[in-house]
Structures are given as structure tokens and as C-alpha cells.
């Protein structure tokens, strides 16, 4: 037993064991008390941190309101299952006692595997038949989407073949080689030839798929038509807006510092930005006033608080008391004042930044004035587009499954996706036999409570004229000073479309 003692002694090496603990007057060198104490120390701040926020108990404990029928059903169901479970124990006990095997489970399982395989394959076939028709594959509404779909079919063909072969073999082996005490399993460790084959073959097939994927991906992401028309798509909690360049064919610059109620996309337009500065200055004045009066309001809240405590209202109106207690605490601890100061500082920074930009005539070149901000996207069939994405607050993802388009919209990092629609809404309605069908751009990156309902309609029209008519109905950012409606300018050479840039800090 020599090595046991060696093992035991080795555990003594830890300094921790030798350390003497003296915590709050409790002296101990018991390993366990020390460990407990350390864990306790580590957890305490967490508990303190959370204690205030954790709902102590449901405010009213009211078992009458509980959904007793469901609870009872659940309990009953669980009991029944447990009784069934128990009866299996007894079943196997009787097998033990009588010494007879009632069921040969090994065979049952082998057969169950075969049954599972057959039913499973039928299920797969059924799924494809029933739900295959809802798949958007095969009717891509964009040009690059057709390449994607064809690649999908290749991949599908290969993987489905492997899937069927391997699953069939798996369950067939399960049946074929079930235990037989008169047989001995084969004794071999490997087979180089076989192993080389099943390494090389997948490698070759994968190379083929990779090469196709590589060329398609590169084409989609980098081979962009110079004549593409730009549309800005802007995601925010919780919705989308689009921006078109307007009559001058130039998209004005934009910056998050310029965003305000009347300028949701933060475009660089003098009057809107100036009024934002005014607005911010007004807010700062208000905040300063609140800050100056903080002494008085502290007193008021303290009086309120004391009244709640002394009259016992604190227990009769727990909800109100909780709110006011936290307000009171914030005031007393200075947290409220710090918050005010932070707000003021942030607004001052914003003003400073805005003023700096306003001096820069590259940014405020007036091209934003006629930009059209829309709540719907209209595009023309067979015309190349490039969607420029921006996000206001958190990451969103612009997802248009019908077009095989998806790109994240990241705050602080403009992204884009180029594509060409090849099917109008009207055509899609006809093929889908659904007169109400519309294309939508969804949000596909978790962004908050209403993420599931964040979409914008996309209409693909058949001709430039339809599009122009629609665009004319959209108001520009700054309405032109009652000029006679300008006739649609002769179609400008679209290479002249200047790329709008997003101002980066």
C-alpha cells in the first residue's frame, strides 16, 4: 500500500492547507471552512448586487389564481409515467424470479432499428413532398440567387446520397449483426485501402463543392456592376427605412450624431442639424436646472420617504414605495446627480461634434436636401442595385430570403450587398398564385423584443417609369421652395451617380 500513502502525502503540499484562517474572529484551519469562507466572500458581492433587483416573492401570494387544472393534469401525468416506470422494474423482477426471458430485448431493438429506418425514410420523403413546395428554392427572385440554388441542388444531391447510404448501413448492421452467442465478432483493426478510399473520396467531392462555393461567393461579393443604383437601408429598433438619392442622383452624407426626431437617418442637412443643436442646448439648460435644484428635491423626496415609512404606507403600497425608495436612494447616494452630469456631458459632446462637422463643407454639401426617405423599397426588374446598410442602435440583419440576400447592419460599420432582381412582384404573385404576395426584408439578427416584427416591403416593378412615378410621390427631405414641378430630368448617364459616403469619425 506504499503508493497510497505517497498519494495522501502529496496532497499536503498545498499552502492552502497550512494557511490559518482568521475571518471575523472565527479562527479555523479546517480546509472546508476555509474554502467555504472564500466562496462566501466571492458570492457575497454578487448577492448584494442582485438582491435589490431580484423579485423577492410574487407580490401577492394567491394560490386561488393559479391554474390548478393544468397543475393537476401535469402532476397526474407525471405520476402515471412513474407508475409505468415502476412496473417495468417489477416486470424485470418477475423475469429474474421465474428465470425465463419473457422478451428478448436484443432482437426487439434490432427490429426496432429497421422499423425506425423504414418509417424515417418514408417521413423524409413525405416531408419533401409536402413541404418541398414551400421551399423558396427554384424560384429565386435575384440573378445571383439562381447560382446559389443550383449549388444547393449539387450539395443536396451529394449529402442526401451519403445520408441515405450511411443511415441505411447503420440500421442494417444493427439488425444483421445483432448478438448471437454462437458467433464471434470479426477480429481486425483496420484496413488501409478502405480508409484511404473513404478519406480521399469525400476530400475530392468537398474540393469540388469548395471551388464552386469559392467562385460563387467571390462573384457575389466582389463582382459588382459599376452602374448599380444605390439605396440606403437603415435598421433601427424596430423598423427599417430606405433612402433614395433624389433628383440630384447624389446621396447626402449621414452621421449618427445628426439623428433627431425630424431627421431619423441623421443626414447632413444644415437646417435640420442646426435645429438639433438648439434642441440639445435646450435640454442641457433643463438638465442644469434640475441639477441646481437637487438639494431641494432631495428634501422633498426625503419627506415623502419618511411619510411612507412612518404612516405604514410603505407596506400597504409596496410597489409605489419600491419605486420611490429607489429614487430616494439614487438622490441620497449621488447616483442621480452623476447621471445628470453624464447626460449633460454626452449632450455637450454631441454638440461639439456636430459643430465641427458643420464647418466641413464636404459633409454639408447640400446633396442631402433632396434625398427621399421612404418606408418601402421599390426597385426595377433587371436593374443592378447595391443596398448600403446602416444601423442606428444595435446590430440588425437585412434578410430578403426571396432574393437570397442577407447582410448584417452594424453600428459604426457600413456594409453593403449588390444584387439584381429578376422577377417582379406581379410575376411572383402569378407564379405563386397568391394575389397578396409581397417581398419583404426581415430582420434576422436578434435585436430586442419586437425583433420578430421588423420588416419592410419591397416591390419590384417592371419598368423604370413605374419606379419614377412612385419616387415622385415620395417627399424629399427638405421640400423644395414651391418651385414648379420640374419635369423629370433627361435620364442622366448613370455612371455619373456619385457614391454617397457615410461620414466616419
Amino acid at each position: 500500500m506504499a503508493d497510497i500513502s505517497k498519494f495522501a502525502r502529496r496532497k499536503n503540499l498545498f499552502w492552502f492547507r497550512k494557511m490559518k484562517l482568521n475571518l471575523f474572529g472565527v479562527k479555523s484551519n479546517s480546509l472546508f471552512k476555509k474554502t467555504l469562507a472564500i466562496f462566501g466572500l466571492m458570492l457575497t458581492p454578487i448577492f448584494l448586487l442582485a438582491a435589490d433587483d431580484v423579485v423577492a416573492a410574487p407580490t401577492e401570494f394567491n394560490p386561488m389564481a393559479w391554474d390548478w387544472s393544468s397543475i393537476l393534469t401535469l402532476v397526474l401525468a407525471i405520476l402515471i409515467i412513474l407508475v409505468i416506470a415502476r412496473s417495468f422494474d417489477i416486470g424485470s423482477l418477475t423475469e429474474k424470479i421465474t428465470g425465463k426471458t419473457i422478451v428478448s430485448w436484443n432482437n426487439v431493438n434490432a427490429w426496432a432499428g429497421i422499423i425506425f429506418l423504414v418509417l424515417g425514410l418514408i417521413g423524409v420523403w413525405y416531408e419533401m413532398k409536402v413541404h418541398g413546395k414551400y421551399l423558396k428554392l427554384g424560384d429565386s427572385a435575384s440573378a445571383h440567387g439562381e447560382t446559389l440554388d443550383s449549388m444547393f441542388y449539387w450539395t443536396f444531391g451529394f449529402t442526401f446520397f451519403v445520408f441515405v447510404i450511411t443511415e441505411v448501413l447503420l440500421f442494417y448492421f444493427m439488425y444483421k449483426y445483432k448478438y448471437d452467442k454462437n458467433r464471434k465478432a470479426a477480429y481486425f483493426f483496420h484496413n488501409n485501402k478502405l480508409e484511404i478510399i473513404w478519406t480521399i473520396v469525400p476530400a475530392i467531392v468537398l474540393t469540388f463543392l469548395v471551388l464552386r462555393g469559392f467562385s460563387t461567393w467571390t462573384k457575389i461579393t466582389t463582382d459588382i456592376d459599376k452602374n448599380s443604383e444605390e439605396i440606403e437601408v437603415f435598421g433601427y429598433q424596430f423598423g427599417w427605412k430606405a433612402r433614395y438619392a433624389g433628383d440630384d442622383k447624389q446621396m447626402g452624407t449621414a452621421n449618427f450624431n445628426f439623428i433627431s426626431g425630424s431627421n431619423p437617418l441623421g443626414v447632413a442637412e444644415d437646417s435640420a442639424v442646426s435645429s438639433l443643436v438648439q434642441e440639445l442646448n435646450g435640454e442641457i439648460v433643463k438638465l442644469e436646472a434640475v441639477k441646481a435644484a437637487i438639494e431641494d428635491s432631495s428634501k422633498l423626496w426625503k419627506a415623502q420617504y419618511d411619510r411612507y415609512v412612518s404612516t405604514g404606507m410603505s407596506s400597504s403600497y409596496p410597489e409605489e414605495f419600491k419605486i420611490m425608495k429607489s429614487k430616494y436612494n439614487d438622490l441620497i447616494s449621488g447616483a442621480y446627480e452623476r447621471q445628470l452630469e453624464k447626460d449633460i456631458k454626452r449632450k455637450n459632446t454631441a454638440i461639439k461634434r456636430i459643430l465641427a462637422y458643420q464647418k466641413d463643407h464636404e459633409t454639408f454639401n447640400g446633396t442631402a436636401k433632396d434625398d427621399k426617405i421612404t418606408t418601402e423599397i421599390v426597385i426595377v426588374k433587371n436593374k443592378p442595385y447595391i443596398l448600403k446598410f446602416r444601423a442606428r442602435d444595435v446590430i440588425h440583419s437585412a434578410y430578403i430570403p426571396e432574393f437570397r440576400v442577407q447582410m448584417n447592419c452594424v453600428p459604426g460599420m457600413p456594409t453593403s450587398f449588390a444584387f439584381t432582381p429578376i422577377r417582379t412582384t406581379a410575376e411572383a404573385r402569378a407564379t405563386k398564385n397568391d394575389p397578396e404576395f409581397d417581398y419583404y426584408l426581415f430582420c434576422n439578427k436578434i435585436c430586442g423584443a419586437a425583433h420578430y416584427n421588423m420588416k419592410i416591403k419591397i416591390t419590384v416593378v417592371g419598368s423604370e417609369e413605374e419606379y419614377k412615378t412612385w419616387l415622385a410621390t415620395q417627399t424629399p427631405f427638405v421640400a423644395p421652395p414651391a418651385a414648379p414641378a420640374a419635369p423629370t430630368a433627361p435620364k442622366a448617364d448613370s455612371t455619373a451617380v456619385k457614391q454617397g459616403t457615410v461620414v466616419k469619425n
Partner: protein, 629 residues
């Protein structure tokens, strides 16, 4: 435990080692007890995670229905019997976090690495039993903090289990990003500490504490898998800790690692400038991708062992299995970008990640074929553990194949964040790993608790779970292909997704059946701990070293000397033997018992013969790769 004599002798060496209740069951330093602690905590977390999935499945299937039980259970989050959309996000997030980290990382690796590494390599305990104990208690604390976060007034973290900033960084962006998110970060930090303490221990035990004769190339595949898993964890978890620290700074101390150009409704333009949300994603997925193999590899290791034992046949291609595990482990560090194809990352980088990702499919395919070849011409005993292992192979194939779609950057444009992804990772990582865990539990239950589980219940558990898992996750592929986005609270507002309502109902019904099937398991597990049939020493007639220890646990594992190992772990059905197994620890009948094997030196127990490391598969493989020999 009936080893009073042993303990008497044991105690004389260090006086304060009393086996009190606390030192035996609570702050135990015995790897077998710690593994049970991990397992039972993991099972409890699993029940919670699964319960959550049932709650939100209810919402997805019957979004317009009102369930009184939801109000009873959730209080203000279930007003009028409907889940609040914010809390739905919280449920999804905590479900994902619990399943990935708490059940399938700690619950799976923690349990089986702890149980099997010392027992299968022939060691008295872990290299550092004390660190091992700490590892469990950090995990425990982490679980407690995570569970507390559910009860926070503003709700738990709700930004998805990946907690991407800015959503997770800005308290005003969603309620869950307040205190709930803070606690989530604390919980994960504690979890990482636990995982590192465990991982370092596993690695050093495997490298240094193998018994005489246990060269690396005689180690069971379980040990190889745990070994690579631990290496992955030790290298990648610190990166997550870094990511989490930056996030904490951004949240609380006004830094701008991940924040830039943000305007928040109700707040205004924020001051933060210059950070990048994409940086977080790189850091997160640098852990995140190895993490999926941290989850999967132990399950694969367990399966290899269980299949070989119950097929009564050597595992096919031991060396190929080890090399492909190693290949997967190395490649898993350089493919993280496949989670980020459409984040706006440079498209060329996307191409590189696509190529690397599809390369990783090759070793995975090799593993699947090797499992099939092991079953071929075997003599299969369908114990519940064997069934779950076969289930794993099935999921590994059907879930792995869809990885080829997602790894292809071009196709990922359409599939990213759709239900196709949910289907893919639930099959290949969720179901496969859970099945590996069940296989491990059924197989080593006798070793853990000295009793047997009921087989019949195990069969029912398996078939119900297997069928319901396929019914739940298979149809999701079709939803994803049709462009149905994930993390949606309901689909009824969007007409184009309405056609999937009946599928959603089917999935939920299947999930409930799957949930009920787990009751069979829970009953079986807890009942058998106390009342199960007493186990024999080697109930599955297995070859590996753990079955040479007595049924009753004792501190130090073997009453006498640690047995010597004479051959590889898979010598089943040897033609020259009458029995169809030949344990590693039995000497060859022809050779004298004490004679050292060729190429080995007589060395003191617990010290690895110097040569063995060099002759190990690991080094052989490296040599071969670099053409050294």
C-alpha cells in the same frame, strides 16, 4: 464504504483527514465523488434548460392561445397566459447558455473526464485533487448565479446565448441587458475558472499519471477525446474571458471596445466611438467554435468505447480515430469565421474560412465511417448505452452533413440565422452530445454508483427520445430553407411564415413527448442509485482498466497496487481466446506475469515509462506529418 481498514492506514498519514459528511459528500476531493457532483448538477441544469425549451415551444406552436399555467409559473412574465416577448428572448438565451455550457460542457466533460481519466489510465486520483474540488465548486457557484439571474426584476440576459454587443452592452437597448446581463457575465467568468481548473488537471493527469504499460497508444479513445477536449478548453476559454472582460468594461466603465456610432432611442447619440461589434464576434467565436467540439468530442470518445465494447469487436482504425480527433482539434481553432460570413467581414477572409471549414469535414467523415466499420461483422449487444451510441452516430451523420451547406459562404447568405442552423446544431451538437452523455451514464452507472440501471426503462427512454429528437429537429431544416428566421417570438404576424404553423405544432408535440420520455430516465437514474440491482465488477465484460477496481468505491481506487497494462483497450473477440474479451490488465497467458513488455522499462507506479511518450501515436503522427521518420 467498506474500506475501514484502508482508511485506518490512510488516516495515520494526515491527521485532519476525517471522512466527515462534508469532506466526503460536499467538499470532496475524490474524483469519483466530484464526477457524481458534476453529473447531478448537470442533470438538474438539463431539466431546467429543457423545461425552458418546452415553454417557448408552447409559445411558438400556439401563439394565440392562453395558458394559465404560464402565468402561474412565470408571474408577471406570463401575464394573461402568454409569454412576454422580452422574457421569450430571455428563455431562449438561458436555454442556450445552460445547454451549451452547463449541461454539455461541465455536465459531460466534468462528469466523465473526472470519472474516467484516473480510472482508465490507472491513477489514484487527479494530479491535483484540490483544484479538482475547486473546479466543481466554481461550477456550482456559476450555476447558482445563472439561476439567480432568471429572477432579476428586469429579466435574465436576453441577447441570445452569444450575447452580441451592442445589444448586450447597452442597458437601455433591452431590459435583459441590465442586471440580468451582469449576472450572466459573472456566471460565465466563474464558469471559465472552473473549466480551466478542470482542464489543466485533466491534461496533467493524462500526461503524467498513467500506470505502467499505459503508453499513449494504449489509451482508450475516451481518454484521447477528453485529452484533446481539455486542450481546446484551456486554449480557448481564456479568449472568452477576455471578450467578457471587454464587455464588462464597455458596460460599466465607459470604454468603447465594441461600441461606435450608436444612437439610442430615448437617450440620444452615445459618446462611444471607434469600437467594433465585429471584434466581439471574432473573440466570441474563437472560443465558440472550439466549444462545439469541446461538447462533441467527449461524446465521440464515449461512443467509441461503448460501441467497441458492445460490438465485441476492436474499434476500427484506432490510429485514424486519434489522428482525426487531433485534426479536428487543430482545425477547430481556425474556422471560427464561418459564423461570421455575413457580418460585413472582408469577403476574402470569408473564402479562407470556407475552405478551412470544409477541410474539417474530412476527419469528421472518417470518424463516421469508422463507426460503421466497427459495427460491421460485430456481435452487437443492445444495452441502452449501445443504443444511445448508435443514436449518436445517426445524429452525427445527419447533423454533420448539413454543416457542408452552412460552411459554404455562398449558401450561408441564405441560411445564416435561419431555422436551418437551429436544426443543424441541435442534431450535430445538441442531440449527438446528449446521446453521448446518456450512453456514458448508462454504461458507467455501475462504476459510479455500484448498481445497475433498469434496461427496459432504458430502451423506452432511448426510442422515445430518438424518435422525438428527429421529429423536433428534422422539419426545422425545411423551415430554414424556406427562409424562416430564428429567435422569432411568433410567426403569425408574417403571412409568409404562416404555412409553417402546423409544423410548429408537430415540433412542439414531439418536444413534449421527448420531455416526458426523460421522466423514464430520471426515475431510472435516481431510483437505481438507491435501489438498483447490485452491480458485478465488470458487468459489460469490458477490457478497460476501470473495471478492475472494486465495486465499492475507495479512496485511491485500487486496494493494492495499480494494475499494469499489457495491451490496447480493444482486444475483443480475439480468435486465440475463448472469452470474447481480453482485459488490458491481464497478462498474456504465455508470458510470465512479471516480465516487462518489450520496449518498456520497469518503472515505479504512476511514473510513465520515459519511452512511451515518444512512441505514442501523437508523436508518431507529428513525425509522419513532418516527414521525420
Amino acid at each position: 464504504m467498506s474500506t475501514a481498514a484502508l482508511h485506518a492506514e490512510h488516516d495515520s498519514h494526515h491527521h485532519d483527514h476525517k471522512e466527515s459528511f462534508i469532506s466526503k459528500y460536499v467538499f470532496s476531493m475524490d474524483h469519483k465523488m466530484i464526477s457524481r457532483q458534476f453529473l447531478i448538477t448537470g442533470i438538474i441544469m438539463g431539466i431546467i434548460g429543457m423545461g425552458m425549451s418546452l415553454l417557448f415551444r408552447l409559445q411558438l406552436a400556439w401563439p394565440d392561445e392562453q395558458f394559465g399555467i404560464l402565468e402561474t409559473l412565470l408571474g408577471k412574465w406570463g401575464k394573461d397566459g402568454k409569454i412576454d416577448p422580452n422574457f421569450y428572448m430571455g428563455l431562449v438565451t438561458i436555454h442556450g447558455t445552460i445547454m451549451v455550457f452547463y449541461v454539455l460542457t461541465a455536465g459531460l466533460s466534468g462528469t466523465f473526464s473526472n470519472l474516467l481519466i484516473p480510472l482508465q489510465v490507472g491513477a489514484r486520483d487527479m494530479a491535483s485533487p484540490f483544484m479538482n474540488m475547486l473546479s466543481y465548486w466554481f461550477f456550482f457557484m456559476s450555476s447558482v448565479v445563472l439561476l439567480i439571474s432568471i429572477f432579476v426584476e428586469t429579466g435574465p440576459a436576453s441577447a441570445g446565448w452569444t450575447v452580441y454587443p451592442p445589444l448586450s452592452a447597452l442597458e437601455k437597448a433591452m431590459p435583459g441587458s441590465g442586471m440580468g446581463m451582469t449576472l450572466w457575465l459573472v456566471a460565465i467568468a466563474l464558469f471559465i475558472v472552473s473549466s480551466l481548473l478542470g482542464g489543466i488537471n485533466y491534461i496533467s493527469t493524462v500526461l503524467n499519471m498513467r500506470t505502467k504499460g499505459m503508453s499513449m497508444n494504449r489509451m482508450p479513445l475516451t481518454i484521447w477525446a477528453f485529452f484533446f477536449t481539455a486542450i481546446l478548453g484551456v486554449l480557448s476559454f481564456p479568449v472568452l474571458l477576455g471578450a467578457a472582460l471587454f464587455l464588462i468594461f464597455d458596460r460599466s466603465f465607459g470604454t468603447s471596445f465594441y461600441l461606435s456610432d450608436i444612437y439610442l432611442e430615448g437617450v440620444g447619440a452615445l459618446e462611444n466611438i471607434g469600437g467594433s461589434p465585429v471584434l466581439y464576434q471574432h473573440l466570441f467565436w474563437f472560443l465558440g467554435h472550439p466549444e462545439v467540439y469541446i461538447i462533441l468530442m467527449p461524446a465521440l470518445g464515449i461512443t467509441s468505447e461503448v460501441i467497441s465494447t458492445n460490438a465485441r469487436k476492436p474499434i476500427f482504425g484506432y490510429t485514424a480515430m486519434v489522428i482525426s480527433l487531433m485534426g479536428i482539434a487543430i482545425l477547430s481553432f481556425i474556422v471560427w469565421g464561418h459564423h461570421m460570413f455575413i457580418t460585413g467581414m472582408n469577403p476574402f477572409l470569408g473564402s479562407v474560412f470556407m475552405i478551412l471549414t470544409l477541410i474539417i469535414a474530412v476527419p469528421s467523415a472518417v470518424k463516421a465511417f469508422n463507426y460503421l466499420a466497427t459495427l460491421w461483422k460485430g456481435n452487437l449487444r443492445f444495452t441502452p448505452a449501445m443504443l444511445f451510441s448508435i443514436g449518436l452516430v445517426s445524429f452525427f451523420i445527419s447533423g454533420g452533413l448539413t454543416g457542408i451547406y452552412l460552411g459554404n459562404a455562398a449558401m450561408d447568405i441564405q441560411l445564416h440565422d435561419s431555422y436551418f442552423v437551429v436544426a443543424h446544431f441541435h442534431l450535430v451538437m445538441g442531440s449527438a452530445a446528449i446521446f453521448g452523455m446518456f450512453a456514458g451514464i448508462y454504461h458507467w452507472f455501475p462504476k459510479m454508483f455500484g448498481r445497475m440501471m433498469n434496461n427496459t426503462l432504458g430502451y423506452f427512454h432511448f426510442w422515445f427520445t430518438f424518435i422525438s429528437a428527429y421529429l423536433v429537429f428534422f422539419p426545422m431544416h425545411f423551415m430554414g430553407l424556406a427562409g424562416v428566421p430564428r429567435r422569432y417570438y411568433q410567426f403569425t404576424l408574417l403571412k409568409e411564415f404562416d404555412v409553417w404553423m402546423d409544423v410548429n405544432k408537430l415540433i412542439t408535440v414531439a418536444a413534449i413527448i421527448g420531455g416526458i420520455a426523460q421522466l423514464f430516465f430520471l426515475w431510472n437514474f435516481f431510483y437505481s442509485i438507491f435501489k438498483g440491482k447490485k452491480s458485478t465488477q465488470n458487468p459489460w465484460e469490458s477490457n478497460t482498466l476501470e473495471w478492475s477496481t472494486p465495486v465499492e468505491h475507495l479512496h485511491g481506487n485500487w486496494p493494492g497496487e495499480i494494475p499494469t497494462v499489457y495491451r490496447g483497450p480493444h482486444e475483443y473477440s480475439r480468435p486465440d481466446r475463448e472469452l470474447d474479451y481480453f482485459p488490458q490488465y491481464l497478462p498474456d497467458e504465455t508470458a510470465p506475469v512479471t516480465a516487462p513488455q518489450e520496449g518498456e522499462q520497469t518503472a515505479p507506479t504512476e511514473v510513465v515509462p520515459e519511452k512511451t511518450v515518444e512512441s505514442s501515436v501523437f508523436f508518431a503522427a507529428i513525425k509522419r506529418v513532418f516527414g521525420l521518420s
